[in-house]
């Protein structure tokens, strides 16, 4: 497939967009250029490149699929020039090597990345980086996504020549609640330090000691407790900083990486959910300039726990200790039996948690309509702290969505604890307190996790987690985003919430035939002007903004939708990069 048959890979064509520094929200340390960016023509390895004038040589080369290796450079951080891995030859300084991360593109510049001097530097650089590196890959969580490993195989692949003992350094420094540090593995790229300074803007890390004894440390009495500390783990190119929640849980190559949207708060950060079998192991940020850039908060990194633990697995009927698992069919029959006499008689309430997807909310509303429900309540997790960057006070991913769905169905969704109803159907039970549940004569719930409400419910139907199903969510500023069945497994009787409603409706004798997520979404798009013309399949990976919902005020640093324009980086993964690399849009 040398040249005839291979389809053109995206990276081999000069892209029309910049992948370089200087983008909106870029590092403060990078010199800002007043003049608007323009196109610069240069040559990399004899091939012409059209680059953005803000590009450095690494990004310019990446445009034509030429890989210049680097450790310390990160497109969103200032340039440090620490690692010397990126040295290349240019026509400006013949016979010398210049750092590709620091040198900006220049009209007519000729860059050579394959000369013997460059290759020898890369090899030597790797050798030096490995001089004191521990023999740890077998127990290192980074194995499989480690830049040292990748570059070693590509640029060094020689046996060691070191015959002395390796330097010993602290092996497990607990930096903070989420991060643990191994100084022996650290290559002193200072990405983590720069991240804390420039992006998190909470300088909690620093380089201490000198030369080969140097290491990264926190300040005395000040742990790394920033809400964004998890990102340092992602951008650490080696296994020096590790996520304590994920540590020793799974080897990364066993994990299935799948795009999704974080359910931790209303910001709706785009993430990859990584799972194996029935278990979700971690979340990593996925690039979306207009939502989370390439970052996410620490809380979001823990949102897989409710997917794994304390799940309602089997459909059951009966309250408290009298509950028995009866299988989905009998449980639905029981729900129908209980709800049928009440239909159209009044006194029915519908409770929709803002943790539900749009489709689940739509189905719940449909059920309410058919039963003649009188009141609709918005539930969800209680609000908590917020900040200027990514973290929103509303800890539910779909509050705007549920409200929008309510408008679409023409009902008022009350944002208050349920009262004034005798019977209730709850689509997810977050925030439904025991006191409320006990007061009800009849409670049917579709719930993901065991909680007070499921104990008090007459019928409990196990609901799939958002990470397990198809659907859509609307974030705090009105961006409709898609989620996919990221965790492939099915546990027990679990089914999407809308499917439980469909089964109940079928039992009640209504024929809506909501047999798929697309149809469930159509329930809304057919009723709402904001969603008209949209189908589930037509929602792009980056989501769509519903303009009517845009707020008037924005937190100072929160990423916001821009006018439609070309995105900053390549949309597809350039050759030789992994999904989630900083080059392909992730933060790693």
């Amino acid at each position: 497939m040398s040249d005839g048959g291979a389809p053109k890979t995206p990276g081999t064509q000069p892209a029309a967009v910049s992948t370089g520094g200087g983008q909106a929200g870029a590092a403060a340390g990078q010199a800002s250029i007043a003049a608007p960016p323009k196109t610069v023509r240069l040559e990399v390895d004899g091939r012409p490149v059209e680059a953005d004038s803000r590009d450095n040589l690494i990004e310019a080369a990446r445009r034509i699929g030429v890989q210049i290796p680097y450790f310390c450079y990160h497109p969103r951080l200032s340039i440090a020039g620490q690692c010397r891995m990126c040295l290349v030859e240019t026509s400006d300084a013949p016979g010398r090597l210049v750092p590709g991360c620091q040198v900006r593109v220049k009209e007519g510049l000729k860059v050579v990345t394959t000369s013997p001097a460059v290759k020898e530097n890369q090899r030597g650089c790797m050798e030096f980086h490995l001089v004191n590196h521990p023999v740890d890959c077998a127990i290192c969580d980074e194995s499989g996504e480690c830049k040292l490993q990748d570059y070693y195989m590509e640029y060094d692949h020689q046996p060691t020549r070191i015959r002395t003992y390796k330097l010993n350094k602290p092996k497990r420094e607990i930096f903070g609640p989420l991060v643990v540090y191994d100084a022996e593995r650290c290559i002193m790229c200072t990405r983590c330090v720069r991240f804390m300074d420039e992006i998190a803007q909470e300088p909690q890390l620093a380089v201490v000691q000198r030369a080969t004894y140097s290491l990264i440390a926190t300040f005395p009495g000040q742990p790394l407790d920033s809400k964004y500390s998890g990102n340092t783990v992602d951008i650490c190119p080696v296994g020096a900083l590790l996520n304590r929640d994920f540590r020793f849980q799974s080897r990364v190559w066993f994990l299935n990486k799948s795009p999704s949207v974080c359910t931790g708060c209303a910001n709706g950060c785009n993430v990859y959910v990584e799972s194996r079998g029935t278990v979700a192991y971690r979340e990593l940020p996925r690039r979306n300039e207009e939502v989370n850039q390439v970052w996410m908060c620490d809380e979001g990194r823990l949102t897989h726990h409710p997917v794994n633990d304390n799940r309602v697995e089997w459909a059951r009927q009966g309250r408290g200790d009298a509950a028995e698992s009866v299988g989905p069919r009998l449980a639905v029959e029981r729900a129908v039996e209980l709800l049928k006499p009440l239909a159209g008689k009044g006194g029915i309430g519908i409770y929709i948690s803002a943790q539900s997807t749009m489709e689940e909310a739509a189905a719940a509303l449909l059920l309410g309509k058919e039963l003649g429900a009188e009141r609709y309540f918005l539930g969800g997790k209680p609000a908590c702290d917020e900040d200027e960057f990514l973290i929103r006070a509303d800890k539910n991913p779909n509050t705007r969505g549920v409200k929008l769905a309510g408008e679409a169905f023409g009902v008022r969704v009350e944002d208050r604890p349920p009262e004034g109803v005798k019977a209730m159907f709850a689509m997810r039970t977050d925030g439904l307190s025991d006191a409320v549940a006990q007061r009800l004569e009849l409670l049917v719930v579709a719930s993901q996790n065991e909680d007070e409400a499921t104990r008090a419910a007459d019928v409990t139907l196990p609901c799939m987690a958002v990470y397990e199903q198809d659907g859509t969510l609307v974030n705090w500023y009105g961006r409709l985003q898609r989620v996919w069945p990221s965790v492939p497994a099915q546990r027990g009787d679990t089914a999407p919430g809308w499917l439980w409603v469909e089964r109940i409706l079928a039992g009640l004798g209504y024929t809506h035939q909501v047999k798929s997520t697309s149809v469930a979404f159509q329930l809304l798009s057919a009723r709402s002007a904001d969603l008209a013309e949209l189908t589930l399949e037509r929602i792009p990976e980056q989501g769509v903004v519903l303009p009517r919902l845009l707020p008037a005020e924005w937190p100072k640093r929160a990423p916001r939708p821009s006018a439609p324009q070309a995105p900053r980086g390549p949309q597809t993964t350039p050759p030789g990069t992994k999904v989630g690399d900083e080059a392909s849009g992730g933060s790693r």
């Binding site: 497939m1 040249d3 048959g5 299935n256 069919r329 069945p485 492939p488 089964r503 992994k578």
Partner: protein, 220 residues
């Protein structure tokens, strides 16, 4: 030696050749589908080429050629998540069919390659030129769903007739399960005698053993 083959072909069939992407000493000629039979007949019968041996016909599906993620080893790819299949970008021409030819006298080799778009997967058969093409074409049909126009008996060869899908296409998941095949209700000499109409036995598909084809919408 083989280079002269390509030169010869350039002389005799100038419009049949699309490109000649040789690799590591293998000579490859990408030919136009319309001229395939002509070129093949010429290559076999002309004494200068004498490619009498059709060693193999092989197929390639390029769907994930460029997008397949790096690494992952054996385990990572086993479960292809649904979103992944959904998001696969179309690649055209998606299929390639390669004819590995050889001459036992002149001892040279040549590979013909056809490129096929997924909306038009038809190739004229070369069974009239090489007898051995019969089974190879059936194999490619079986694995990739390429239709060989004019083939005398284009049926599945490795898979059974009821098999659904084409296993070597890249969007066929490795772990895909096939539905059970109900026992045929008529005596069939090719597939073996079934219970027959009015026969004593109940078709196996209706017994507990073969209860796989249940209504996919049923939820228990």
């Amino acid at each position: 030696m083989a280079q002269s083959l390509i030169d010869l072909l350039r002389e005799t069939h100038p419009d049949a050749i699309v490109s000649t992407p040789g690799h590591r000493g293998d000579e490859v000629v990408v030919v136009r589908r319309e001229q395939l039979v002509d070129v093949c007949r010429f290559l076999k019968e002309d004494p200068r080429t004498d490619l009498k041996l059709l060693a193999q016909i092989a197929g390639v599906d390029l769907l994930t050629y460029a997008t397949e993620a790096t690494g992952g080893g054996a385990l990572a790819s086993i479960e292809v998540p649904a979103y992944d299949l959904e998001r696969k970008r179309p690649v055209e021409p998606r299929y390639q069919v390669a004819y590995n030819l050889g001459s036992v006298v002149k001892k040279h080799r040549l590979r013909l390659r056809l490129e096929l778009r997924s909306d038009d997967m038809k190739i004229p058969t070369v069974t009239g030129i090489w007898r051995t093409a019969d089974w190879w074409e059936r194999y490619i049909y079986d694995m990739f769903g390429v239709e060989f126009v004019g083939h005398p008996n284009l049926t599945r060869i490795m898979m059974y007739p009821e098999f659904q899908g084409f296993p070597l296409r890249k969007d066929y998941p490795v772990r895909k399960r096939q539905p059970l095949v109900p026992e045929l209700d008529f005596p069939d000499l090719v597939r073996g005698p079934g219970p027959g109409p009015g026969g004593a036995g109940v078709p196996m598909s209706q017994t507990h053993v073969g209860r796989a084809n249940v209504d996919p919408d049923a939820y228990d």
